[in-house]
Amino acid sequence: MHAHEASRDLSRAQMEHSAKTPLAKGRVRGVGLSLRSKHYRSILESGADVPWFEILADNYAFGEGPPLHFLERIRERYPVVFHSVGMSLASTDPLNFEYLQKMKQLIERFQPEWVSDHLAWTSIDGRYFNELLPPPFTEESLNNIVSNIERVQDFLGQRILVENASAYLAFCSSTLSETQFIAEVVRRADCDLLLDVNNVYVNSQNFGFDPVIYLEAIPHSRVRQMHLAGYTDYGTYLLDSHGARVSEAVWALYEKAVALMPGVATCIEWDNEIPEFEVLFAEMARAQACWNRGESRVA
């Protein structure tokens, strides 16, 4: 507002939150869904039987109003995890602490079971691209991202999860494979992993590697969450579009993943051309059946 403004504010009493959001007690387990504003009402009205939701924290960090109202109602009923896209961990820019502070406030308010972002950069020289861009797999890039993850973890006071991103290019300068890079990030930064099974498949097709060997190569004990999503086939490459059902090839890969890493919480991401809630729910049920098979094998 205005610089000459108010030392005293008669409306302040009304602005303060009357009470803290009551939080659902359950833990994040099994297969959940990524929450979309389009589904707020159907979830709340039907009391949808979803074990937990993943929240795209960036959509709630910068304002109030209906989004926060609905997030409060959701959080009263369901456990949640936070996912974010703005940390720009692989960038050489200084971390954006204004952004991280907003995240921290949101974390304190909604108490997600964990927080994740990506092995990617979204900004450089202060310019934001609002797109997850791949880093080169080099020693310098590794040191850079490790130091950023460490500082984010220090600031948030918790270990974070980092997600393997999809990519459509290869840097000449890369000296490590993607899985070597990931394993080193996790080891040096002491962080956890969010394994996006669709991204593994998309990259395996775009780069020509065996996705099962990829799954075998990553540090299994660090994988705390998985993502499933749909891609779009553009003929010469697959695009991680999050705008379709999970493909049969990715379902098959997910079976392999749950066999190698049983019991890892998984969610379906769908944020373009978002369908009716029932469609998402059916995808969730299918994933839950896979997840159960992984669990029963262990038992």
Binding site: Q14, Y128, L133, G208, Y237
Partner: protein
Amino acid sequence: MLHDLLAQMGEAFAKTPHASSTQNRVDEIALQKLLPLPRLSAEESLRVYQRNLEGSLLKALREIFPVCAALVGEDCFRTIARQYGEAHPSLHPDLGRRGDAFPSFVQMLDFLSSVPYLPDMARLELAWHQAFTAANLPPLTEEAAKNLATIVAQYPAFWRFILPPSAKCIISPYPILQIWRAHQRDESGEIHLERDQHKIESDLQSIHFDEKPDRLLVWRRELALRIDRVEPQFWPLLTAIESGKSIAELLELGSETKNTLQEEMEDAEASDFEPLLNWFREFFARGWLAGCSEIAR
């Protein structure tokens, strides 16, 4: 150096796909850093990112300005979005702020002179978008208003009213509210994009352009977004509150406004014009007043 590599790639990604030869230098530098993939040349890799970035900006703008997008059509909106993206790179991680400079940007584009109401429509849509996530500050309660009146009346020069944080006054010589409404599905505020160009044209033909200017207040009451029409006699006062004028200044303005309006208004409304005190009651009743704040001395 990692920084240089990312900066060069960022610059190349942000270019329009298949841009003219003047931009090839940027592409060339980026291409030197890339290897081909099994089914994708380095150049095609670069295009994928250029298209993705363009697509995400277009999507963000279309979500904030659906009516503007419908009014100018897909191709034109894409052209505007490209130029906007180049002129106004995003400097904030919040995608919700991506359209903040869009209304003033479209105002400067000569090729849009055939849709002169577009900048005002963009302002209306931006205000609507911003009101959605604005801070919560409920309208004054009756009791709070009474307490407030006694304090404020003693020192009117040191106090000012505050509107809800979501509130934005918008004036246009065009019937933007009517055009905007023609593009909504229902009163709940859910946007419905009319993809059928003929439908839009026929809607526009039914709109009367000889109406008086639109004076609008976009704001949010609790969870409900609203656009209120503001009567001409209230406009100077409401915009003065919005710009942070003290209550003493409002009182002065109020008496001036009253005189001018009485001269100008030839119909029965003139005689209905109520004394100044009434506007406070009226604004309060409509929920337009969220409080008062002290002006630093």
